[in-house]
Symmetry: C2
Subunit: 548 residues, 2 copies
């Protein structure tokens, strides 16, 4: 039996129309480094987005689902591009300005971007790439910056303000299938080529509704959100769309992401919410410790992108700013969990919940896949790889070698769930705690051993400076842990001492048999343990391993 309801598609266009009318008075404030920031109402942003769409179609010839890239900071022009491009049926491709040049080139060519909208301040990054970007026919430049850097380049160059100046303020927006692509974002590709995630109109719409639900961020037009998380990073966690849904005001830092200007804009503009990765909050804390500023307007801060050190949360608690953990990935739009504790607990009781990754919202189904591929219970103890399903979760990647979408086996289960690559446990009341990356887990005789747990237990020994545990092949168990340890100066602990110490906090069958002292744990460029190097040293016989 079919329903009798209207068949109305969930599109970015509808979010735009709603925001620019019902919430037309809400504002986007963009930091300029001048005495006064730039302020534009949603009504103005909507009108300018409409003019941009006209310009893209009539002047630049954008048709169909062509890709229009942005290489921009968080600012009002970037918000305009966010709405104009998908609403006309084209695909917004946000470029990550932190990527190495060769990755950016690879990505633009893979997406076959026809247009790049760039901030003037990013032309030093863009200009040298252009000779390698044959699909790019137009560059549109917004905001301050030296235009002469583009002299002699092949694409046609347009000034953003001139381009949109005399365009119509209406557009006959097409009806769009909600399952078609609205935005494209590539993973940063630490292993292998970057992979494109193509968000649909539907996924953006549903994800942004969830962002607005009270159990997630739950903001209203009373609020102003400081959007530090870049618009090129998973659609700024959905905030530009979420704000147009409910009239939340946005404060955009543009290129002023250093701790001092961030502290100044918080004190002056008094946002009630902010969203950023932990390093931003580390830097800001150091800044306001040295140069006190009032941050207390931010009653709620969403922190994600990496695990947040508990000490950082405690430090902000003292400033009246509550950090709330969120977990997600490019493939999850990104809202996967948020760590609001259950209601009615004391601060002490809340703490164990606050340091988890959080709970799954409606729309994200989760299961833990165990070592044998079995689904594990939510008992707070059984560790498995987290797999997720939902309308804003990727089911594949855009355009592989043959141009087709592709679904690598290590990323998707046979029944289509996303394998997150994260290993963790889920409590009976649905809180996720991640313990490991799947590739770092030790698969020993049908059970998993967390390398991170062993490392943390070892590093608690007073004579241990650092310790890294990796899986090594074992004839009987498949894999067993190898403990590599850096002792402190003058330490006298033996391997047996360390093993006995470990045995106090770890199950006997998890204790490593193989031990090696090393001078330092090898690290990646961003300071993480580089376990590939340790595994290779072991395989090549370059470690002095003692068997206990």
């Amino acid at each position: 039996m079919l329903s009798t309801m209207q068949d109305v598609s969930l599109t970015v266009t509808r979010i735009l129309k709603h925001g620019m009318t019902i919430h037309g008075k809400s504002q986007v404030t963009t930091w300029t480094g001048e005495a006064e920031p730039e302020r534009r109402s949603f009504a103005e942003i909507g009108e300018r987005a409409t003019r941009l769409a006209n310009a893209l179609r009539d002047e630049l010839g954008v048709v169909g689902d062509q890709r229009v890239a942005t290489l921009m900071w968080n600012n009002s022009e970037h918000v305009e591009a966010y709405f104009a491009i998908p609403s006309m049926g084209a695909v917004l491709h946000t470029l990550n300005l932190r990527l190495p040049a060769e990755q950016l080139i690879w990505i633009v060519n893979h997406a076959a971007d026809r247009v790049v909208v760039a901030n003037g301040s990013l032309l030093p990054l863009l200009a040298p790439l252009l000779p390698h970007l044959p699909t790019v026919e137009h560059v549109v430049v917004a905001g301050p910056g030296d235009r002469s850097l583009l002299d002699g380049c092949t694409p046609r160059v347009h000034e953003y303000e001139e381009l949109i100046a005399d365009r119509p303020t209406t557009y006959d927006w097409p009806e769009i299938d909600e399952r078609s692509a609205a935005a494209l974002c590539y993973t940063s590709g630490t292993t292998g080529d970057p992979k494109g995630v193509a968000y649909s109109h539907r996924s953006i719409y549903l994800h942004s509704m969830q962002v607005n639900m009270a159990e997630s961020m739950g903001l209203t037009e009373k609020d102003t959100t400081l959007v530090v998380v870049p618009q090129f990073h998973v659609n700024a966690w959905g905030l530009p769309h979420a704000t147009f849904m409910t009239g939340i005001n946005m404060l955009m830092p543009d290129r002023f992401l250093q701790p001092a200007p961030l502290a100044e804009m918080i004190e002056r503009e008094r946002p009630t919410h902010a969203a950023a990765v932990p390093t931003i909050w580390q830097g800001l804390l150091a800044e306001v410790t040295a140069n006190p500023r009032d941050l207390s307007s931010m009653s709620q801060v969403t922190i994600g992108g990496a695990a947040c050190p508990p000490a950082l949360m405690e430090a902000y608690d003292k400033l009246g700013v509550r950090l709330c953990h969120a977990w997600g990935m490019t493939e999850t739009s990104p809202l996967g969990t948020m760590a609001h504790p259950p209601y009615g607990l004391t601060p002490e009781q809340e703490w164990p919940y606050r340091i988890t990754q959080g709970r799954f919202p409606l729309g994200v189904e989760a299961r833990l896949s165990g070592p044998a591929g079995d689904t594990l219970p939510w008992d707070g103890e059984s560790a498995g790889e987290l797999e997720v399903r939902g309308p804003w979760i990727a089911g594949g990647y855009y355009g592989g070698a043959g141009g087709e979408d592709f679904r690598p086996d290590d990323k998707f289960s046979e029944d289509g769930w996303l394998k997150t690559g994260d290993v963790g446990v889920i409590s009976p009341d649905g809180y996720l705690t991640l313990t490991d990356r799947a590739k770092d887990v030790i698969k020993s005789g049908g059970e998993w051993i967390s390398s991170v747990d062993l490392e943390n237990a070892l590093m608690a020994h007073p004579e241990v400076a650092e310790a890294a545990v990796v899986a090594v092949p074992d004839d009987r168990w498949g894999e067993r842990p190898l403990a590599t340890v850096v002792l402190k100066e003058g330490a006298t602990a033996s391997y047996a001492d360390l093993r006995d110490f470990l045995a106090r906090s770890v199950a006997k069958w998890q204790l490593p048999e193989r031990w090696a002292l090393i001078p330092a744990v090898p690290k990646t460029s961003v300071g993480k343990f580089d376990k590939k190097v340790i595994r290779k040293s072991y395989a090549d016989g370059q470690l002095d391993v003692t068997q206990l």
Copy 2:
């Protein structure tokens, strides 16, 4: 370009699974009239719903999209039915226990209900209907009530608790197309036959997400909502689904809808929110004025179903209870508008916003259709018929004469928008004020005159007891207003006096030329002006009309 996102359907099943796991500890509390109410966790409700689905399939043979009706108060068993029936692919048909017997019979036969789940306390209503309900093969009885009333009836009779007692606690829920029907609700049919609105899984899912967004009700598991609005009335405004999405606790009054028990349950259980029609709040106010009770836990109350007298809102303001207007219809799921004022206003500035019907949420597009079928501006002055579009707005009715869905011209525009039958204005900032029913508006020379405006202006005259204004045919203008007036005892005002009085507040071209004194305004059974009767009296020449 297709997106790479997973194709996951929006279904009631997913709401159920989410609520019974992630929010398994939240509670449904049902008033019983005993010392202690009945309390069930969402986990229990979910398990019992699962057992109910097994029983409906295995014992009662419910298959496919068969209709399972409920004739029930608001209680936990009704919540179980809400989730079990649509999740198994069947259609929940909620029966309005306030309808006359002949309408109930018509509706059950039209929907071809196979099963009726009924509260024992409603058997006096159900039993006499059964001989007229040939499609009903099973009656399932829940809660207290005299079962002997069903002795000798044709359908098989089942005890709810016995029926679900030994059933499996898992069910292999089918994957359901989100556009298929989940629930069926008939309009009460004041004119013509009742009309069935078939809500889809998709419409329920999206509507309930919107209910949970902060700009609508925005409740969380911190909250308890007192669901006075019946579950047979447009899915209790989406609250049972919305609560399972975010863990909001529910307080269910069952059959205890009188002011005294309502006041008692509010004082004892301290809900933070409630939803009901104005008459409930009128009765409750009288009750607590006579017998004081603390209602102040209810910081927010959603009031809809009829216009709320401003005096009632003011009276509740004094009790610390804020009534918030909402507007909707069976055809709009029902959330159409909510009257949260813009942020940052004083109470005096908020007032003009609070007495409107409110603003449209994301998902409800609105336009005003003028006398000539043109779309009118949102200027706060141009009055037109409100038409709405969106994923939870009806686009037709279920099963007309030939069994096909049907779309009467007076209910749907050519391009598929719902004609609400309400006439009003929309302010530039998107607030709707309804002034009239479309059928009561006077269509004079291409302009509309509000009968309600004229009546209110007339009734402000100190010598007027009542006044009703109706449209009558006019050769030159198409229609013109006829003013029928009831004067107070001993009044001396002439028609000319009344017209001069009107002219102070109404444009000259709107002034009635035709006047008649009547002894009383004819009323409908629910006390509304019965304008049909006045129009007929005029047409039949039974009014003593004076032409000015």
